[in-house]
Every structure is written in structure tokens, then in C-alpha cells.
């Protein structure tokens, strides 16, 4: 078999293009619309650069300085502070673990309260949802700062901050999981004479628990990342040392701390993805 190759000469191509203009170039309307969208984006960007007072000289000199810092970071070296940093790593893990657990325990009842199929009263679940939204609108670092002023410096403030933020986010996710579940087991329990509480316990819980557990593990991963930075405002963990070492320009220690963060996050991701798979796999079989 031989393959046919079509060679178009210049004028043939021009003839085809004239016959089917919409195949060669998009219609003018589309072009104008695309051009306008790009112009709007670029216009807002230009306004942003002007409003924020961007100075492109500073950008250049800053990049040069950054490159210099990177050369100073090599090789990563903790100096004599390794035990201190290991302790901070433990604190970070503790903040992530207790923060996720605490947030989940508080969010658990709220997940049911905010679900339409558990509380049919529209005002009740609307109110619960707005509370969750408001708490969620405040970043966890702001919570950390508030808790530092309330309970003092240290990892405990970090735990409370992570727990508060996780509570709001998990509450929303839990309520969505509860709303998405299958009605039939609940109807089964009710039809055999079960009370509403028993309907939740035997009809809903077995369905939502694996979903909740996997979301919880996912949040633990994300909180492990977040708990490294709550220290920047004094709420314990690696972030405290990181902010300090950046301020005193100890670049080798900075790169060592960043390396510790990356390794910790990678290990936690690995373990929790294994666990998550185990939970979901088990629930599918059972």
C-alpha cells in the first residue's frame, strides 16, 4: 500500500481558504470577543501594577539578590540546632494531628446539623451554614494570631487555630457527604420501627464514615503543610524557627528547615494515601 500525500500549492491553498473562510480563520465576532477578554484582563493587570506601585528596577535587583541567597543556601546545614529543629518538627506534627482531630470532633455533629436531609428546617441549616462560612472566611493564620493573644505563644495556639479552621471546612464537607448518601438504608431502619437517632446511627453512619475518614486524612495532609507556617506568628512548630532564621539571614539553616518541611510533607502524603486507599478499599468489599 502506498500513502497518498497531498501537496497544496500556494494558490490552491488560497482558493480553498477563500471557499471555506470559517475553517482557516475564526469569525470576526469570536476574534473581537477574545481580544476584548484579553484586553480586560491586561487592563486590570496594568491597573494593579500601577495601584500597587510596581517598580521593575526593584524586580531585577531582587532577582539578582535571590540568586545570591540561593547560592548561600547550599549545602543545607542545621549547625548545632538539630535537636531543637527535631523538637519543632514534633510540635508541627502534633499541631497537625490534634488540630485535625479536634476540628473533626467538633465538625462531626455540625455536619449532620447542616445537612438538609437530617434537619429539614430550612432556617436551622441555613444558620449553621452561615456560621461555618463566616469561620471559613477567616484564614487560619488570622485564627493563630487571635489565639496567640488569647492563650499565649506556643504550639497550643497553633492547635486551636488549625482546629478552628478545619472545623469550618470539614463541617461543610461532612454535610455534603451526608446529603449525598443513599436514602434506602435510612428508610429501612425507619420502616422496622427505628427512632430518628437510630436511623442516623444505623442508616447513615455506616455510609458516611468511610467518606469522612478519607476526607479527614486528606485534611491531615493539608494541615501538615499549614501547621508549618502558623509558627510565623508565634504559634509553635517549624515556622517559628524558619521566620527567625530568615530574619537573621542564616541561609543554610533556612534551606535545611525547608528541606525538613518537604520531607515531612512527602512522608505524610505517602502514609495517608496508603491509609486512604485501605479505608476506601475495605469499605468497597465490606
Amino acid at each position: 500500500m502506498s500513502r497518498a500525500r497531498i501537496h497544496l500549492s500556494g494558490d490552491e491553498r488560497a482558493r480553498l481558504a477563500a471557499a471555506h473562510p470559517h475553517l482557516v480563520a475564526p469569525p470576526i465576532n469570536t476574534r473581537v470577543r477574545v481580544g476584548m477578554i484579553i484586553a480586560v484582563f491586561a487592563g486590570i493587570a496594568a491597573f494593579g501594577f500601577w495601584q500597587l506601585g510596581f517598580n521593575f528596577d526593584r524586580l531585577g535587583s531582587g532577582i539578582a539578590q535571590l540568586a545570591h541567597f540561593v547560592t548561600l543556601m547550599m549545602p543545607p546545614d542545621p549547625g548545632t540546632q538539630l535537636p531543637l529543629y527535631m523538637h519543632a518538627l514534633g510540635e508541627t506534627l502534633a499541631i497537625a494531628f490534634l488540630g485535625t482531630l479536634g476540628g473533626a470532633i467538633v465538625a462531626f455533629p455540625f455536619g449532620f446539623l447542616a445537612a438538609k436531609n437530617v434537619i429539614p428546617n430550612i432556617f436551622a441549616h441555613f444558620a449553621v451554614r452561615r456560621v461555618l462560612d463566616t469561620v471559613r472566611g477567616v484564614d487560619r493564620l488570622i485564627w493563630a494570631l487571635i489565639y496567640v493573644t488569647v492563650v499565649g505563644l506556643g504550639p497550643f495556639a497553633g492547635i486551636l487555630a488549625i482546629a478552628t479552621a478545619s472545623f469550618a471546612e470539614l463541617g461543610k464537607l461532612f454535610s455534603e457527604a451526608v446529603e449525598a448518601l443513599d436514602r434506602k438504608p435510612v428508610e429501612g431502619v425507619v420502616s422496622t420501627g427505628g427512632s430518628p437517632v437510630e436511623a442516623v446511627r444505623f442508616g447513615m453512619l455506616p455510609q458516611v464514615l468511610p467518606v469522612l475518614a478519607s476526607q479527614l486524612l486528606y485534611y491531615f495532609e493539608s494541615n501538615a503543610r499549614q501547621s508549618t507556617i502558623v509558627g510565623i506568628v508565634g504559634a509553635g512548630g517549624l515556622g517559628l524557627h524558619l521566620a527567625e532564621q530568615i530574619r537573621v539571614l542564616e541561609w543554610q539553616k533556612v534551606s535545611f528547615l525547608v528541606l525538613m518541611m518537604l520531607i515531612m510533607v512527602a512522608v505524610i502524603d505517602f502514609i495517608s494515601s496508603r491509609l486512604r486507599f485501605a479505608i476506601i478499599g475495605k469499605s468497597r468489599i465490606g
Binding site: 484582563f41 486590570i44 493587570a45 491597573f47 494593579g48 501594577f49 495601584q51 500597587l52 506601585g53 510596581f54 517598580n55 526593584r58 524586580l59 531582587g62 539578590q65 535571590l66 541567597f69 514534633g90 510540635e91 506534627l93 502534633a94 499541631i95 494531628f97 490534634l98 482531630l101 462560612d133 463566616t134 472566611g137 477567616v138 484564614d139 493564620l141 488570622i142 494570631l145 487571635i146 493573644t149 488569647v150 492563650v151 506556643g154 504550639p155 497550643f156 497553633g158 492547635i159 503543610r225 499549614q226 508549618t228 507556617i229 510565623i232 506568628v233 509553635g236 515556622g239 524558619l242 521566620a243 530568615i246 530574619r247 539571614l249 533556612v254 525547608v258 518541611m261 518537604l262 510533607v265
Partner: protein, 296 residues
């Protein structure tokens, strides 16, 4: 044949092993649950020890938290509502300007990051790039960008570029590039490969293939992810000021540290309102975008 509504019941000697089996299964599940709770309890105790959790101190001072929220609640009287409101928001012009700065930081960070992620995502997709070196290189780079928290980049950049919104924008842009690059690459890996084959078969170069066979398929999804990221970045931009990287965070941190109670609630409410409005708007736009994409 006799019709009977009685449920047939197996003889006892046949039921006994079934019941025993059921009991064993229930016992095994209970044991698993107990072990899991045991592990969680041990981890909790360890973490509480590590995290310096002191329940007695916490409960002794438990009233401080509600007290704090009580103190930041402004004093508003119905009779003098206007005056009280204007006293609460005494610095509104300045705060609104800072809020605009914050949103612009989020916008620029999202835009620059999305452009970077857009350029890198095609290199990180397994169906477009055959060379594992380029692909894995792009993937590792994106992973690094999104694993290091924004605030750490912001701290570094504040030292290199000086105080102001510039380090905030760059920090957000780098993190956004990492996060969006990964999401974009996942979208690209799920495209219909037929247009790509068609373009390749007609002799298109790699860039032309991407432009005419891939981009039209993925653009609406990209826009939706970009908007989602913008929502997140508005939140993140509100804390960039904590490390001196511009936006409203600077004033918030000052108000919290110096116990300007009513200012704390005023700024917090502004941030929450801005975040909620932006969430609502982008959600609408995203639904329309995805609906529009599905119709085509």
C-alpha cells in the same frame, strides 16, 4: 402445596455454625475498631505532650476566648447608630484601599501563576510529552512550588525585594503556578486524543498541535480552576501583610497585636465580606463557564 406466610427456619444444628460465624465477624470488626481507637488515643497523648497541651490551664482560662470576642464586638446603640458605625469604621477609606490592594495582589498572583502553570502543564502531561526527563522535571518543579507554603516564599522575597506588595504577588504567583500546573496537567491528560492525532497526522509541529488540538478542549476547565484559585488567593493575600508583603494583613496584625479591639472586628468583617462576595461571583461565573463548555 400449602401456602404459608411463616418464614422458614433452618433446624438448630444448621443455624448454630452460621450464628457462630456471624458472632466471630462482629467480634473481628469490634477488635479492629478498638485497635484503631487505641492507636488514635496513643497518638493523641503523644501529640498533646509534644504540643504542650495543658487542659487544666486551658479550662482555668477558658473564659478568655469568649471574652476576647466580646471585647472585639463594637458598642452599637440604636439611638446613635450612625455615629457608632462611623466610629467603628473610622478608617474605612484607608481600609478599603488596602482591601483593593489585597484583591489586586490576589488577581496579579493568580494571573501570573496561571500563565506560568499554563506554559508548564503541557510539558508535564504524559500524553503530549514522551521524554520522561522533561515530564518528570516539570512535575517535580511544580510539586516544589506548591509544597513550600506561600508565606515562606513571601518571607524570603520580602528580604530579597524589600517590603511591599511585590513579594506578596510573586509568592502567590509561584504557589499558584505549582497548584494550577498540576490541575491543568490532569485536565490535559484527560483530553480526547483524536484532534491531537489529526493535527500530528497533517504534519503540525508540537506547538501547533497544542494550540489547535489541545487548548480549545481544555480552556473552559482551565478558566474554572483559575477562578477557584483566585478565591483561595484572596484569602491568602489577606495574610501576606503578616510578613510585610502588602495588603490588609499589615493593619490587621497591628490591630490584633496592639489590642485595638474594635479595629480587629472591623477589618475581619471587611475581609469576610470581600471573600464571600468574591466566592459568590466566581461561583456563578464558574457554573456558566462549565455549562457553556459542556454545550459546545
Amino acid at each position: 402445596m400449602v401456602l404459608s406466610h411463616a418464614i422458614t427456619r433452618l433446624p438448630d444444628e444448621q443455624i448454630a455454625p452460621l450464628i457462630a460465624h456471624y458472632d466471630a465477624a462482629v467480634r473481628a470488626r469490634r477488635r479492629h475498631t478498638l485497635i484503631m481507637f487505641g492507636v488514635i488515643a496513643v497518638c493523641t497523648v503523644l501529640a498533646a505532650w509534644m504540643g504542650e497541651v495543658k487542659p487544666d490551664v486551658f479550662f482555668a482560662h477558658a473564659d478568655r476566648l469568649p471574652n476576647y470576642f466580646w471585647s472585639i464586638t463594637p458598642v452599637l446603640h440604636w439611638n446613635t447608630l450612625g455615629a457608632d458605625l462611623s466610629e467603628w469604621y473610622w478608617n474605612l477609606d484607608h481600609w478599603l484601599k488596602l482591601l483593593l490592594d489585597t484583591i489586586l495582589i490576589a488577581y496579579l498572583g493568580t494571573l501570573i501563576g496561571a500563565i506560568g502553570g499554563f506554559c508548564l502543564c503541557f510539558l508535564a502531561s504524559a500524553n503530549l510529552v514522551k521524554s520522561p526527563w522533561i515530564r518528570l522535571g516539570a512535575r517535580r518543579f511544580l510539586e516544589f512550588c506548591r509544597t513550600v507554603p506561600e508565606l515562606v516564599f513571601a518571607l524570603l522575597f520580602v528580604v530579597a525585594f524589600g517590603l511591599g506588595p511585590l513579594p506578596g504577588v510573586l509568592a502567590l504567583a509561584i504557589h499558584t503556578m505549582g497548584a494550577l500546573g498540576k490541575l491543568f496537567a490532569e485536565v490535559v491528560e484527560n483530553i480526547d486524543m483524536k484532534p491531537v492525532e489529526g493535527a500530528t497526522a497533517s504534519g503540525a509541529s508540537w506547538l501547533t498541535t497544542v494550540r489547535f488540538a489541545v487548548v480549545p478542549q481544555v480552556l473552559s476547565n482551565f478558566a474554572s480552576y483559575g477562578l477557584l484559585r483566585f478565591e483561595i488567593n484572596v484569602r491568602e493575600a489577606s495574610i501576606m501583610g503578616f510578613v510585610g508583603a502588602g495588603g490588609i494583613g499589615q493593619d490587621l496584625v497591628e490591630a490584633i497585636r496592639k489590642f485595638y479591639y474594635s479595629d480587629v472586628s472591623a477589618i475581619l468583617l471587611l475581609i469576610i465580606a470581600a471573600v464571600m462576595i468574591i466566592d459568590l461571583v466566581t461561583e456563578q461565573v464558574r457554573h456558566r463557564l462549565l455549562g457553556f463548555g459542556a454545550q459546545r
